[in-house]
Amino acid sequence: MDEHDDHDHDHGHGHHHHDHDHAAAAVPHAPPAKDEKIHTYHQALGLALKELLIEKGVFTPDEIRKAIEWRDSITPATGAEIVARAWSDPAYKKRLLADGTAAIKEFGHDMGALHLVVVENTPEVHNMIVCTLCSCYPRAILGLPPPWYKSREYRSRAVREPRAVLKEFGTVLPDGVEVRVHDSTADMRYLVLPMRPKGAETMNEQQLAELVTRDCMVGVSLPKLN
């Protein structure tokens, strides 16, 4: 069901202003040329499989639509709600860190066969999440991962030079803070519990949730007061 977020490639045709043969490709919204391949091999394979499964009555197009709708209804705001609760309720924070899978059930979220591990940022430790092998991500509470999370650049560099990657996200940490990268390779999905920023002491849960962005929960950024 990921097909709709796989159109994020820019093949750079925009630079070939002199090349009239490819002029159509330089116009992003131009109609496809007669010989232009609309789908890649694997997209075509996915579509063919979907059509066969529908034909066989395994599921209906409406069920697929509903599944995509459900998937799209999960956004980083879902995760932000959980972080804000942990910031406001020390007992909830304790449960969340002890067993993330069970603690998010209190919000009605289900990890299915997977497990949620919540890692806490402290003045001494900064956590950052990556999946070097593919795109493992806590989708049940953050939705679909952003394209950069799935890019080869992020996946290879986050483990190789995390501080350089963090800097590109505007996050510079002193050498005294341990950078702890979590490579999610198996059945665990990771969520970063950021530190509650200074100046947010009097905020209520809803106001706190607004400070928590997706990037904070992946650990490439820190919550900031506007």
Partner: protein
Amino acid sequence: MGNDLRPGDRVRVREDFPQGHIRTPVYVRGKEGVVVKNFGSFPNPELLALGRDGLPKKTLYEIAFKQCELWPDYNGPESDTLMIDIYEHWLSKV
């Protein structure tokens, strides 16, 4: 169950390159780290990928590596770490 590793045990990741769906990234193979946590046992993904039942289940451990030991030219303080989840059959006690 399994090779019964405990938190604090120093382990080495098997330096092996079998074909198939392997969830042990190449950059940690042959490297030494320390057991942080035992996550319990899970169906073996190498068998699940072949359409089998993944049994017997394999114990999954969280292993911590020092970045400066993974990458000799690592650009950062010695305290920086990499944590990764590795199944028991890829680990041996040092």
